[in-house]
């Protein structure tokens, strides 16, 4: 099987100038296959439809987590209400300020092992699928690859 056989067709995306509050709304209500149950990450496309980044829930967590807390062990000294007030402070930040710019992608004709290789080596859980003209045509999720593995394992033939 190839990437295109398991990908979820491309539908929702973010723009670089969306604010974070718009972005979280889209993440919450984005379609995953048929159902609009929300997704953990969305591709960011510019006006010409070119893929310029990815924004995931982890990026949103990172947006509210002050960078000084990365430098020392300060988790024990935070307080109730800190997260909420920081969330309010960052809601007008732009997607382009927080998105991951080096996007890990696959092409639609790449074999599934290539998908697994990229997921494991780059610690991502989803990847945009591009066609030959470098347009986004779908998304490959960890879960779909897992289902492909399950199917192969349980297939008696």
């Amino acid at each position: 099987m190839k990437a295109k056989d398991i990908m979820i067709p491309f539908k929702d995306y973010l723009k670089p100038d969306n604010t974070l509050s718009e972005a979280v709304n889209l993440l919450k209500g984005a379609a995953r296959g048929e159902a609009k149950i929300g997704v953990m990450g969305l591709p960011v496309l510019d006006d010409k439809g070119k893929l310029v980044g990815m924004l995931s829930m982890t990026d949103i967590l990172r947006a509210v987590h002050p960078s000084y807390m990365d430098m020392m062990n300060l988790g024990d000294f935070t307080w109730d209400g800190m997260l909420e007030s920081l969330a309010k402070q960052v809601r007008d930040k732009k997607v382009k300020e927080l998105m991951t710019r080096t996007v890990i992608i696959v092409h639609e004709d790449d074999p599934l092992m290539e998908c697994v290789d990229r997921i494991l080596k780059n610690h991502v859980r989803r990847m945009p699928v591009l066609d030959k003209t470098e347009r986004v045509v779908g998304m490959v999720y960890l879960r779909e690859i897992f289902f492909a593995i399950t199917k192969a394992m349980l297939d008696e033939k």
Partner: protein, 456 residues
């Protein structure tokens, strides 16, 4: 005196080697100031070029005490870095900072004063950049809790770290370099620099009280956030902490006694680092060793070789003759010029290459003045001692003048910007420059009073 000096200048042969070394030296310093290429790359390439061109031999660059890399400085720095890197995960630095905020009872100026004092004291024993990197994250957290503008806190801490670093041999790289070249021991710095630094620090705290003290008010419920923090939770590894503190105590005792024991400071530090590596139970030392500031260390290595080359060809000697001509051999005047010139030079350029140049210059100057003396008799000539202290005080404290004067300032400005509170060059200078001038005036009075009036 002037005539005598002029006659010795005949020895300098300004041949091809002189001009090659001088050109590379000037170009390297210009490129370091220009900051387009990383300073370490410039220093390493410049050094390699000088060896390739045969201005200094590899033997001289690697092994000569007068012309080569000062391994005493390199090993002291790297050993202290290793000790700190092993101690960091214990949580002791978080503990100290949180405890300080609670001792201040969450009152803003008290926090500023205590954080500045703690920064100064810690900086006296650890590298200034390390100290600021350890105190600044906690400062940002505390200011967030108290909803205070963090900028005054960060600026006052950077300035305090440069003040504190001046107090001891191991506090700031210029002092390490001066100690190594002038063969001064740890207790000499304690005896000659620590007293004046204590006065400077007290004057500094009083000054920041006037500058920032009135503007800061905090609501009671916000103070409770700080008071609710439990500093004991910071300690993550009690066993390693105890081991580290023992090693730190051994190392500090070693520094105090190194003159008597006839051990170089680098030997003491290396022993501390080796001992802590041994007893810490670390299986694979790669991480703690890799986290040392290799870029700074290679900057030092390259710089030492470049300076060695210009010493060898006589440029530094020529400069020292010019300085003496300028001051007509008046040593008090020379001391004061060295202090003030060092302060303003260090405010705008890196004080490390500056001191690397000034060290041999002062030694050459001494050789002009007392041609019959050599070794310790020359380096520790009673009339020369105030020069070393003036250089140390000027070069270390001068860093406070601008945002680029000291590495601690650069770090703080970078962190403030990342947190969305950019500090402009002008804004930093508005506080830094007057406070720097204040501190140098205090030092000037001190040097004059102690070495030229009271003569003690």
């Amino acid at each position: 005196m002037t005539q005598e000096i002029a006659s010795t200048s005949g020895e300098i042969v300004m041949g091809l080697g002189f001009w090659i070394a001088t050109t590379i030296f000037i170009l390297a310093y210009a490129l370091i100031i220009w900051e387009k290429v990383h300073k370490t790359i410039i220093a390493v390439f410049g050094a390699a070029l000088l060896i390739v061109l045969g201005i200094v031999t590899q033997e001289e660059a690697f092994n000569s005490l007068d012309l080569g890399v000062d391994w005493n400085v390199i090993f002291l720095l790297v050993s202290m870095m290793v000790i700190i890197n092993i101690m960091k995960p214990t949580g002791v630095f978080e503990y100290i900072a949180i405890k300080s905020a609670k001792v201040a009872k969450g009152r803003p100026f008290m926090i500023m004063a205590i954080f500045s004092t703690v920064t100064a004291v810690v900086s006296a024993f650890l590298d200034n950049v390390t100290t600021v990197l350890l105190i600044a994250p906690v400062t940002l957290l505390i200011c967030q809790a108290l909803e205070l503008d963090v900028v005054p806190f960060l600026i006052t801490e950077a300035l305090a770290s440069n003040i504190g670093g001046t107090a001891t041999l191991i506090g700031d790289p210029p002092n390490i370099m001066i100690a190594s070249k002038a063969q001064l021991d740890f207790m000499a710095f304690i005896y000659h620099l620590t007293p004046v630094i204590i006065v400077v620090l007290i004057a500094y705290i009083i000054s920041i009280k006037f500058i920032f003290g009135r503007r800061m008010v905090v609501k009671e419920d916000l103070r409770q956030r700080v008071m609710a923090m439990n500093e004991n939770e910071a300690i993550k590894d009690t066993v390693l902490l105890k081991k580290s503190l023992v090693v730190l105590a051994v190392t500090m005792t070693g520094f105090v006694l190194h003159g008597m024991l006839h051990l170089q400071p680098a030997t003491v530090a290396l022993f501390g680092a080796g001992l802590l590596l041994l007893i810490s139970g670390i299986k694979e030392p790669r991480h703690v060793l890799a986290e040392a500031e290799w870029s700074s260390l290679f900057f030092f290595i390259g710089l030492f070789i470049i300076i060695g080359a210009v010493v060898k060809v006589g440029l530094i000697k020529w400069m020292s003759i010019k300085v003496l001509e300028l001051t007509h051999g008046n040593l008090f005047g020379t001391s004061m010029i060295v202090m003030w010139f060092s302060a303003f030079a260090s405010a705008f350029i890196d004080n490390i290459p500056y001191v690397a140049t000034m060290n041999p210059l002062i030694i050459d100057m001494a050789k002009q003045l007392w041609p019959n003396l050599s070794g310790i008799e020359l380096l520790h000539h009673p009339d020369l001692m105030p020069m070393w202290w003036s250089l140390a005080l000027g070069a270390c404290l001068g860093g406070n003048g601008t945002a680029i004067g000291a590495s601690a300032n650069v770090i703080v400005v970078g962190m403030a910007e990342k947190m969305g509170h950019p500090i402009s060059f002008k804004q930093f200078m508005l506080y830094g420059m007057p406070l720097m001038i204040e501190s140098v005036i205090i030092c000037m009075i001190y040097v004059w009073l102690r070495y030229y009036v009271l003569m003690i």
